[in-house]
Symmetry: C4
Subunit: 246 residues, 4 copies
Amino acid sequence: MPTALARWERRTEWPLAGVASCFLAAYSVQVLVRPVGIFTETTEAVILASWAAFGADFVVRLCLAERRGRWVLRHLHELAIIALPVLRPLRLLRLVTLVAVLQRAVGGAVHGRIVTYTAATTSLLIYVASLAMLDAERGKGGRIQTFPDALWWAVTTITTVGYGDYTPATPTGRCVAVALMLGGIGLIGVVTATLASWIVRRVSEEEDAQLATKAQIQDLLREVRDLREQVRDLEGSLLGEQSRTR
Amino acid sequence: MPTALARWERRTEWPLAGVASCFLAAYSVQVLVRPVGIFTETTEAVILASWAAFGADFVVRLCLAERRGRWVLRHLHELAIIALPVLRPLRLLRLVTLVAVLQRAVGGAVHGRIVTYTAATTSLLIYVASLAMLDAERGKGGRIQTFPDALWWAVTTITTVGYGDYTPATPTGRCVAVALMLGGIGLIGVVTATLASWIVRRVSEEEDAQLATKAQIQDLLREVRDLREQVRDLEGSLLGEQSRTR
Amino acid sequence: MPTALARWERRTEWPLAGVASCFLAAYSVQVLVRPVGIFTETTEAVILASWAAFGADFVVRLCLAERRGRWVLRHLHELAIIALPVLRPLRLLRLVTLVAVLQRAVGGAVHGRIVTYTAATTSLLIYVASLAMLDAERGKGGRIQTFPDALWWAVTTITTVGYGDYTPATPTGRCVAVALMLGGIGLIGVVTATLASWIVRRVSEEEDAQLATKAQIQDLLREVRDLREQVRDLEGSLLGEQSRTR
Amino acid sequence: MPTALARWERRTEWPLAGVASCFLAAYSVQVLVRPVGIFTETTEAVILASWAAFGADFVVRLCLAERRGRWVLRHLHELAIIALPVLRPLRLLRLVTLVAVLQRAVGGAVHGRIVTYTAATTSLLIYVASLAMLDAERGKGGRIQTFPDALWWAVTTITTVGYGDYTPATPTGRCVAVALMLGGIGLIGVVTATLASWIVRRVSEEEDAQLATKAQIQDLLREVRDLREQVRDLEGSLLGEQSRTR
């Protein structure tokens, strides 16, 4: 039976992905459109509401956890995302969970799932980092002043190319950049590892001397068990003969 | 029996590689030589004809596909290459198919094939990206104004070195750069993965404790079957004795 | 029984980690706070004392080693760290041992241990390299003049992004940078390798045809031994019959 | 029996490594010291003599090869190194062979050998590329004008960091840079792959369910053969009884 925590997490998966989508929409509007008057207040309200939802979810999960100290230690990154305004855009990573949920429904092989997951996470990371960078750098005298420039900067950073034609100058912007660089290391790692796994499999498939499989060992086991049965029968018939000759 | 779609794809493999070669020649001439008068029209005509050929091939394959919705989803990148003029140079990636076809004829081990394939794709990608970048940036006030500079930029980008001495300034040029960066991540991934696969194999070859192979399990199975036969013979001779003593 | 050298190394593990912590504190204060008067002398004294402790440890281990020539060859990097003032900050890598010791006490799977170890080493390397870079470059006319800038430079370098907005200009600074770049190559390598190992395992877990395991082979072996016992009993009963009929 | 070509290659291994060492010394002196008068002529003579030696070796091996067309195709890179003056520094890669020869004499595990080989090749590549870059760029108006700057540029390039504070401006310098970048991709690949192989092995060592080894299968086979022997003996004693009772 799943624990109360696991049940809560399964039930809130979709609602929280919805909250993250609303947050993404409101944050995008706020940064890209820069609304005035009533619209500013609306987007601010949506962002505040989504923050409250994530905070409430964190508190509920903390209460449901069995070993709270250990649970907090393992979810320190979530606490940081909720508590620090600078890490606010990272709340959108909740949408990655959405990809995972959708994929679980569809199914598929490990390699395919990793590819979809990586592509979705990378795209989301680039988009969110560009928004956050633009939000942090605009009007601060840095070079990144438009969304296309921020996108261009994000791609050159996550691929670790790093031309240096656009670089962040504010502390907030640099924090966003560091998150994106770590994402880049991870991206290269996942791409390489998936390819390595695929090549290792292709090579081993082509090898003449294939490894013994579970199924083959079970065939062998069945054979030996049949043999034991046969020997038992032989013994039985021998004993029958003995009783007859006695 | 192969489907109609598979038959069509096998038959059009060579003709389409030929079309891609013509496109490569015409595009190279257009960008590098910048012909005037009748020559401009000729190269334009060849590029238009190759575009029509790829478009027709896409339509025919769409008609032959069994589950069209799913087929389109899986070939969205081809649709994008045909529909968007910006992605025009990517049509040349059809030439990679040529490498694959040639290699299938020659044969060879997995590692060797991956090396040839990677080298060919990377060279083609660098050449095409340099052409496309020069086409996009020339006369737009950017730093990339000659083909050698474009080549130099392409190599620093695909290896993720990214000096930043030459960077694209136009949106089209940046799209080309993003494609090249993704190619670079893939290049590093393939090189690393192939090396990893090779090292893993070398290490496991040197190990004393080698894994059981299919052949060895079969030897063992034969041995056990012979034993069963022997026991059956024994039983037979025992029964013969019983009938004689009875 | 462990050798005298192994016993010495186990006993000095914690004291030397403590010495490294004191060195880290004194070095941080010296570079970041730039104390005056009595405080300068105190930090200098701590740094000198930690150097003496590491030197004494090296000499003791050299004396305890069985094959001294080979031992020195294998610990040349430690000799260099002690003898060359430029490599002074690398003494802090002794703290990585502390992570190893703590982790050995806690236990855990290989993957988890590698992740903790990599995160701790990378953080320490970035912090120490930033300190050393600031120490080397400050007041020399280079661009790196504050600790946040040094940290930003260190992160862009270890992730191999290399924007080039901040670069070292002094020979000492460049030596620090080279050490950090090598650390970056190692970081990418470890991340990729851990991911590859994890993916390879996930893929092989999902495969239907699993490899034969030691346990299964032992089940089979037990089965065959039982059979031999049975045949021996059969032989015994047959001989008994023979002696009775004789 | 080894072919005439294999015998020639084994015999010329050491002499050619010596020629490469002389070339390295002469080339270093020529680039770094820039000798005048008689010394210029001496270094020029040594470089010319080493070129003649490599050329002669290539011709002899071509004559000894069994299938010359295929041999030339497989050694095109050597032909290019001998024929093109730009690739002259690459002749030094012959020294890598020296590392291989020394290591073969010493022995050791696969991982250790790969580490030594990679470290030696990378160091040699960085040194030679710095020399070649300085030779190409000096006095041409580029930023690389001293050997320390060339070394710094080489390290930032091979680690794919690519700050861009020093970049080659001449075509020759850029060719050197491309070779170094490819070396960098290879370096990252080898480091990652070696780590991956090591981690995969560590993880599989810790697993409870270990794979069946050749040795275990042979134990099992011996057991089954003993059993067959036993059954044969049983059959013999049964036949003996039959002949006695008959």
